[in-house]
Subunit: 450 residues, 2 copies
């Protein structure tokens, strides 16, 4: 539904661009939110984008457009915009968003922009560029409201009116001591409901959650989500307040992390590829298929080893797909449950053995069920009970091993601080394939005596 | 890191429970946030949970604990709590959270609670229970601040102090006309910075995003995320303001939807299973493996059809895993990219043919690359050029078909309003397996003339 609206907007704008209907275009552009315009920009050429951009009258909307553009679209767009104009727009944007955009530019371009930006703002932006992208420091906004304990509610409100006009979403006022260290917090709401002469120290809350600059962004997001707060203050190693992470960034983090996890689990790297060219898409996806290719070649040699048996009983080959498939699918189930459980905090690495044992039990029970079914098919088709037993046992062992490996590998990865999501990709599946095929032929050749 | 803190908390609480150290327990329980306690409750028996629950002195924290409990834990916990006490806690909670909890109870239990709750609150809760769980109406909070256009800033602040004390996160004040229809919005921030005598109509914003009660929760969440707002007003079909959806619920929606998508894509249903018993886990996962089992049996008959050829050239069987594996993996890549692209709005169902054509091209190019490599291995091992060519062509066709099916099926599902995430599970993989194996044997038997 929302997609439809964007599509209609794209269609109208394209039609107006073809007809060069400047008056109409100007009207539609200035009635559209910057976030919506950024979706339209995806479908336009750079020349068309520039044409629309200069029509935007509200500088805030220009800033929103900048920050909502797809990764990589900003450097291309600003090639056609004068430096003065770019700096003017950036000056009106939240510092954390500016730092994100500048981080996408070449060294030369970013230097010339930082030089032109107002002294203070530029220092803040440069400060942010020093932190790791994925940490609290890298995502925080250094503009926040910090007041002293002795400030009265009335004075605090006045400071909101005068000094802190450009602060993003000022729903919390932080209270700091003479060294800038965080000591408390008050909500804007509390400020308006207490008597005007009351001091912050008398009504502020001293139970204030804070995070350190080096904390991973996913941890920061989890804290905001867990305590249902709108922003979390960021402090340096000495507990000095240096920034805030707001809830809108937290939403972006969760969406980004979920996408990364999903792509990694499917073995497509962690970048979005759907809007990229065929050639770039091929380059990103090619290496991830390598594990599967090597695994397949190993399986080829394993089966080659049993060539003599296959010559005698050709129908042995017919069971390869079902045995591989059952193992592969239950392995994916197990690894996905573990990876997502770890990401959402519902599983803990300290429970490794309990989780793995449970998965092994589930694999064994499901293996027994499907082993019986598939063995039955073998029996009905070939009337050879030893073949049926071999196939059944192969399914059981394949599924049990798959559930074991599928749960153990991501747990082990998490323990040594490797992202468990990569463990669910082609690596584990491929390993399971090889083991399944080997077990199958070992069991069958032994039981059938060939 | 955060997980570690929870674990330490669980360990200390368990130790204190064993020692029956009531004084210590009471201290630790009342120093811990309700959201953290809810994580501890996961590891405790119901008796232990009850023991801790009655120690909590702050009724707000009791409410937070209730709403943060795992799905299904609430009905079990309150079996041991008196109805009076439950109702008292619920009365202090946001209405949307109360409705979520009551929705988990049996008809009898929920009726008796609703009857005991204060008349007004209970009506609101019952109102919410009528909406679909996954819609704006089902997740909205019916407590919000709505004022008339003529209200002055000063009067608005006074109303916050008197009437609207229990509103959740009142960062926006909505402005309604005499019929309760939404006409504008002001932020709490604006309220404190304008002169006290100014009327809402003079400084409110009339560009107010709103959603209808029937809108899907995922769409609602996308709107809040796109426009970086803290709450979105919910209106009925006549534009009458009936509730708000706050950003904390939006975070939960995104996390929930990401988890559902991931589980569906892995073929594990859409429920969390990692905290459930082995037997329940088996029951949930068993049906999802059925597609894979049937597919494997079909592949078995396909290969059985070529039994004569395998008898002559047993090594043909050795290539089955690599051909299936390459097809399966690229199919997973394609379907994952499409499913996540649709979920994040970066792909649109109207672009179906462009997307499918692009995936087909990628599949073809990657197929050519890996087909050459695997064909080369075949050549080096068996020195039969026709075998090498057959294997190479089989890899190309398997990977091209897999990319085609992997992208087309989720797109087609989305078009007919079936959740595309289910298309990436065992169904598609299994279909690809069958097609791959069939193509391989057709090509090989034709080229090798057997």
């Amino acid at each position: 539904m929302h997609n439809d609206r964007t599509r209609i907007l794209v269609d109208s704008i394209k039609r107006l661009l073809r007809r060069n209907a400047t008056v109409h275009l100007r009207k539609i552009v200035n009635k559209t939110h910057g976030a919506d315009l950024s979706m339209v920009f995806r479908s336009l050429s750079i020349t068309q984008q520039l044409k629309l951009f200069i029509m935007i009258e509200d500088i805030e909307q220009q800033g929103i457009l900048f920050s909502e553009l797809d990764e990589g679209a900003f450097p291309a767009l600003i090639e056609g915009i004068e430096l003065d104009k770019i700096v003017e727009v950036l000056d009106h944007m939240p510092t954390d968003d500016v730092a994100d955009l500048i981080g996408q530019l070449s060294k030369q371009k970013s230097d010339s922009i930082l030089e032109m930006m107002k002294k203070e703002g530029s220092e803040e932006v440069e400060g942010l560029l020093h932190y790791d992208d994925d940490t609290a420091g890298g995502i925080m906004n250094p503009d926040f409201v910090a007041l002293r304990e002795e400030t009265t509610a009335k004075e605090a409100i006045e400071s909101l009116q005068k000094e802190h006009f450009d602060v993003e979403m000022p729903f919390y006022l932080y209270v700091v001591d003479e060294y800038g260290k965080l000591v408390g917090v008050s909500s804007l709401r509390q400020l308006v409901v207490v008597p005007p002469e009351e001091r912050l120290k008398d009504f502020m809350s001293t139970d204030v959650f804070s995070v350190e600059t080096s904390m991973d962004q996913e941890e920061v997001a989890k804290i905001v989500a867990r305590y249902n707060i709108l922003a979390v203050p960021v402090v340096d190693e000495t507990n000095r307040l240096v920034g805030i992470v707001t809830v809108d960034d937290v939403i972006d983090i969760f969406r980004e992390e979920a996408t990364e996890d999903i792509l990694k689990m499917a073995g497509v790297g962690e970048e979005f590829v759907e809007t990229q060219s065929v050639i770039r898409s091929v380059r990103i996806r090619l290496p991830w298929l390598f594990a599967s290719c090597i695994g397949g070649i190993i399986a080829f040699f394993v089966i080659g080893h049993f060539e003599g048996s296959i010559k005698k009983l050709a129908y042995l080959a017919a069971f390869i797909p079902v045995i591989m498939g059952m193992g592969g699918n239950i392995g994916t189930q197990s690894s996905t449950i573990v990876v997502r459980g770890l990401a959402t905090g519902r599983l803990n690495i300290r429970d490794t053995w309990a989780v793995v044992f449970k998965e092994l039990s589930v694999g064994f029970i499901l293996g027994a069920f499907y082993g019986f079914m598939i063995g039955l098919v073998a029996q009905l088709q070939y009337s050879k009970s030893m073949l049926a037993v071999s196939v059944g046992l192969a399914v059981i062992s394949s599924m049990a091993v798959a559930a074991l490996v599928g749960s153990l590998v991501p747990m082990a990865f998490a323990r040594i601080n490797v992202d468990p999501a990569v463990a669910t990709g082609p690596f584990v599946t491929t390993a399971i394939d090889i083991v399944s095929v080997y077990f199958y032929f070992r069991i069958a050749t032994t039981l059938l005596g060939i």
